[in-house]
């Protein structure tokens, strides 16, 4: 089928402002939007810049706004998004656009690093594995799936309003450790997250949950962190 891709383009070496450009490409309905973008890049306009790697929704490179909402281009099928044969593609919102669909991810990763995204356990490690019950393991399973694609954070109006807000992705990562029974720094992470730019800036908007390509219950995870802060108990 023939579709039209409307892409928001910006070349820092030429343009002052972003502008829209349209391309018509021949694709299969079951193709990914990423395939369509490649078709443009490889046969019509090589200057189109985007990040991508795995092409099946695992590496988290190609978050972008497709028809006005955040998705991974490699996980959005043409047949699901092409309305009247038109697909609009824009960079994700709230991070500085560097070129075309590429944004500067550094502020996003700075928030990630800020919440101590690593296991802290100061006891001397045992000879074999640390034991963990399947129930304790299941407690934080959902948030281990995060691929740091930024779909969630850049769909959050609270983040658009204030880029210093740590954002849902960082909270998801914090959740992964706070509720890991092997970890000992949950309290410190919770303290960081209770600062003005922490979890309290989450307005329970749910855009993040809708945007997460990994199906993580992001708002729920944030809510659980708030609950731990509210009740003083990590459970």
């Amino acid at each position: 089928m023939k579709i039209t891709l409307k892409i928001k383009r910006f070349n820092p070496e030429v343009d002052k402002k972003p502008h829209w450009e349209s391309y018509t490409v021949e694709v299969e309905p079951t193709d990914r939007v990423l395939d369509a973008l490649h078709e443009v890049k490889w046969t019509q306009d090589g200057t189109l810049a985007l990040r991508r790697s795995c092409a099946h929704g695992i590496c988290g490179s190609d978050a972008m706004r497709i028809n006005g909402r955040n998705m991974l281009a490699c996980k959005a099928l043409i047949k699901d998004v092409a309305k009247d044969g038109v697909i609009t593609v824009e960079p994700i919102l709230g991070l500085p656009v560097v070129k075309d669909l590429i944004v500067d991810m550094e502020p996003f990763f700075a928030h990630y690093r800020a919440i101590m995204p690593y296991l802290v356990n100061n006891d001397p490690p045992p000879e074999r594995e640390r034991l963990q019950s399947p129930e304790d393991r299941a407690r934080y399973d959902d948030t281990t799936k995060c691929i740091l694609c930024a779909c969630c954070t850049t769909s959050c109006p609270s983040f658009w309003a204030r880029g210093e807000y740590v954002g849902p992705a960082a909270i998801v990562q914090a959740h992964r450790f706070i509720f890991d029974s092997r970890d000992q720094a949950g309290e410190e992470r919770l303290r960081i997250l209770s600062e003005p730019d922490g979890v309290w800036r989450c307005r329970t908007v749910f855009n993040c949950t809708e945007a997460c390509p990994r199906g993580i219950q992001v708002t729920k995870a944030i809510g659980e962190v708030k609950e731990a802060l509210r009740t003083g108990v990590i459970r």
Partner: protein
């Protein structure tokens, strides 16, 4: 400096999800009510401190533009109350987080159900007032 404002109002509104529109409306309604409340308390307290001023304010309230503003206020207040209740309940009752779609739909329905008769009665009262004078 205004970039965050621009992003959340111009581009954010275009973001295709329900949540951010509700957020924006909740924010606008909250601020709207704050502004109204300021004038309202001030005006009412004038009944005690400066009745003449209070009387002038009441006259003003009875003009058509204010009647329309009042309708808007009613909607904003009801929306803010219902939506705020949804947020508060969801956040205080973790078990319900998975039911957010339903909660959103319910709160919109309740808002509509409460707003419709309220606006109707208020509009009726205003119109009959204007007809009588």
């Amino acid at each position: 400096m205004l970039r965050p404002l621009i992003v959340s109002f111009r581009e954010g509104v275009a973001y295709r999800a329900k949540g951010n529109l509700l957020w924006l409306l909740h924010r606008i309604s909250g601020l709207g009510i704050v502004v109204f409340l300021g004038f309202h308390i001030f005006g009412m307290s004038m009944a005690a401190f400066n009745p003449a001023l209070h009387e002038r304010a009441l006259e003003l309230y009875k003009t058509p533009p204010f009647a329309i503003g009042e309708l808007l206020l009613a909607f904003l207040l009801i929306f803010h109350a219902v939506n705020g209740t949804r947020i508060a309940i969801l956040e205080l009752r973790p078990q319900l987080w998975e039911k957010q779609e339903l909660a959103t739909r319910l709160s919109l329905i309740i808002t509509a159900l409460l707003t419709a008769p309220t606006l109707a009665i208020m509009a009726y009262k205003s119109i009959s007032h204007f007809l009588a004078h």
